[in-house]
Amino acid sequence: MNNADKQVVLEAHGISKHFPGVIANNNVDLTLHKGEILALLGENGAGKSTLMNVLYGLYHPTEGEIWIKGEKVHLQSPRDAIDHGIGMVHQHFQLVPVMTVAENVILGSEVTTAGGRLNMRQAARQVNELSQKYGLAVDPSAMIEDLPVGIQQRVEIIKALYRQADILILDEPTAVLTPQEANELFHIMRELTAQGVSIIFITHKLKEVLAVADQIAVLRRGEMVGTVLPSEATEASLAEMMVGRNVILQVEKSAAHPGDVILKVEDLAVLDDRKTSVVNGVSLEVRAGEVLGIAGVQGNGQRELVEALTGIRSVASGHFFIQGHDATHYTPRQITMLEVAHIPEDREKHGLVMAYPIEDNTVLNQYYVQPYSHNSIVDRGAIRSHANALVKEFDVRTSSVTALASTLSGGNKQKVIVAREFSKPVKLLIAAQPTRGIDVGSIEFIHKQIIKQRDNGVAVLLVSAELDEIMSLSDRIAVMFEGHIMATLPIAEATREKLGLLMAGSHS
């Protein structure tokens, strides 16, 4: 493919964007050609979203120029970007949950009848036309909050197309999708490019990049490292470009030596917030010294299962035992006292208190025991030396343990949680999405820590939406679908294809 032949639709020159204390983009150049898919890669915080927000008029660049279809533009607001044919699907969807699909689509570009009344009928018609044209089936009168994320994403794309976007920015669109949904998305993307739409596609998943991109641009620490063709790249070469050093993508681990049963779950049922049953009779066992991975598309009851096992959500029926104790109706603290460690899936919401200094975050699970407090009186000295030791051991990059947790980057936040959970005797580790959204370097470190725990005889229950992570860490893999365990496979028998089918609910 020769890019020189293709028309350039978007060009960014020397874009810099500074935030107080952070240079998010530094002198970045980017070129997008008509009808191509340009993948943008980079570690967390590399500046990808920032660059896209600049192109979409949400941020104003500190320096640099933007040219769209040969015309130099000054984007004051998203309005201007929209007017120039740019559409963006944000990393976090920008949909109003309590409005219908049609209302969300027309928002900001409404069609009205003469009297200023919204013309919802015409809106619905236009949504239907777009969804037929590009194969994006959705019901215009459905309420957003009732739709699964995959469909919500279609709404986002329709939103852009409705505004006649021919440059589409997709910021990490596959992070929330099943492999099947992701494949559907790639089809849609192909369909769009065939009709002349140009796409910038951001992702952390190297496989996807190699599969769908026409061009790959890599950002590192706010700077453009370079552009490569997929044919010239491998996963390893891309990872190295992103991080700037060699990265070990595969965790090295020896064979497991399972011991006693530490966690035993019998016929467990759990309800979600809407009181519908989302865990339906799950039974499983995790032994000391092994990793049981739970694979599955998000939203199949994994979250509620973990919440039940950690005491945060009450159990509807069934039992579970930890080290032989019936812990079904224990409080979270009672469960913690059974030497259970928990890495929650949402580190900022559940794992840390952002406005606390790092040191206080390192004792969230044990401030109430010796030596961190005596007779309900807190011992600040003990907490501080504990925190200092952990920061050193787990290589948390921070100026001081008195710095607020909110000043840490994502990977370092996760390290604080892992350090905290491993800083007391552990028999059972429940880890939910332990590396979601963090960069390759930190992933590598955390994976090593989990395996180290396993080798020390800890029973590990690992829940992850990343098939790669599950496959590289687990000794056995259970697949969850609609609240059931579809099957449990030893690692040797597990292949991507098999797991993918099970995750989609079909018994092979």
Binding site: V353, A355, S376
Partner: protein
């Protein structure tokens, strides 16, 4: 709901301490000065002499032992009201119900004060004092429980409970607990329940200061305080770390109400001597100003309350000497509240960088959990 206030780890050197003190004290001090300045402009516009007015205000609040005594007397319920708000803030709750809790505390301590005869001072006074405080605590825990178990937002429920408290206390003072005679009020408390005065200085003030220190210690040095602050800053993380959030919410609200109720008790036992409708109006709302002026720090509540107390104590003198009506105090207080919350303005004036310290963000939907 989340508070953006952050918890700084203890700093070490004296220089650092001084710098950090200035960082947190500069905004309130500037806020007070700015409010006084605008107050002066309003006074000028209304034809009064602001210098005379402020001089009289000072004279009426600090010029002699009696004035100081009065200032401290005024400051006493304000300390407790401010603590009630500040404490709830730390736990992520906005208690606007200080007024109602104070009224309930006041009438219950009055009832114990006049109703239980034959007890010695050493038992009767503390009993009445604590009884009122506990009544305030129970009253506040209604709002706490509603928040914890139904998600009803405490700002609205506490405002509503304020109105309810007025009705309840009026009913009691004009009904079952009414004094003999025609006036709607309870009988006077017995001698054995009264809080004595040391010269001009009311003993209640020292109780309030001691309570402020206890609250500071509780919040920053005990595991309970750690839990309360954790819930205040991130209730989700609190839940994950094994804290029973709902129970703690009720407890936080109860302690907050305990403090407000104690303010009512001290007023009844040390100042008013009985419950009389109309005697405790407006104290609860001052608590918000004081808590924010103190940037929700329990010890800083003491000077903040003394400042507001002094303004109230001096307002009569200001009327007398400078012929300025006392509503100007309200205006100045609103301006202080404005400037202390609108940090941006003050920081811009002072050209100091924000350090994310003390800003409070409590509002969120009324109905959700």
């Amino acid at each position: 709901m989340a508070i953006q206030a952050s918890e700084k780890g203890p700093t070490s050197s004296f220089g650092e301490r001084l710098a950090s003190f200035w960082r947190s004290a500069s905004v309130p001090i500037m806020a007070i000065l700015l409010a006084a300045l605008i107050g002066a402009i309003i006074l000028l516009l209304s034809g009064a002499n602001p210098i005379d007015a402020y001089a009289a205000l000072f004279k009426g609040s600090f010029s002699n032992a009696r004035a100081i005594g009065r200032t401290l007397e005024k400051a006493t319920p304000l300390i407790l009201g401010g603590l009630a708000v500040a404490f709830a803030f730390k736990g992520g709750l906005f208690n606007i119900g200080g007024q109602g809790q104070l009224l309930i505390g006041a009438i219950v301590s009055a009832a114990i004060g006049f109703g239980l005869g034959g007890l010695p001072f050493i038992i009767h006074m503390p009993l009445a004092l604590i009884g009122g405080a506990i009544a305030g605590a129970l009253y506040a825990s209604i709002a706490g429980a509603l928040k914890a178990y139904t998600g009803a937002h405490e700002v609205i429920t506490t405002i509503m409970l304020n109105f309810v408290a007025i009705n309840i206390t009026d009913f009691l003072a004009n009904g079952p607990w009414k004094d003999e005679g025609i006036v709607a009020r309870t009988p006077a408390i017995l001698e054995t329940a009264a809080i004595p005065k040391l010269d001009n200085i009311p003993l209640g003030f020292f109780i309030a200061v001691a309570v402020a220190i206890i609250i500071w210690y509780l919040l920053f040095r005990t595991t309970l305080g750690f839990e309360i602050r954790t819930v205040g800053l991130n209730p989700n993380a609190a839940k994950y770390s094994g804290i029973l959030v709902a129970r703690l919410t009720v407890l936080t609200m109860a302690i907050s109400g305990f403090l407000a109720g104690l303010g009512g008790s001290i007023e009844t036992l040390g100042v008013v001597g009985r419950f009389q409708p109309g005697f405790n109006v407006g104290l609860g709302f001052d608590g918000i100003t004081i808590a924010l002026l103190a940037r929700t720090h329990p010890l800083a509540v003491i000077p903040a309350a003394i400042l507001i107390g002094a303004m109230q104590a001096g307002s009569s003198q200001m009327q007398f000497d400078a012929k300025v009506s006392f509503e100007i105090i309200d205006v100045i207080q609103a301006l202080i509240l404005f400037f202390v919350s609108a940090e941006m303005i003050v920081r811009w004036i002072l050209r100091i960088r924000a350090d994310g310290d003390g800003g409070v963000r409590l509002s969120s939907g009324w109905g959700q959990g």
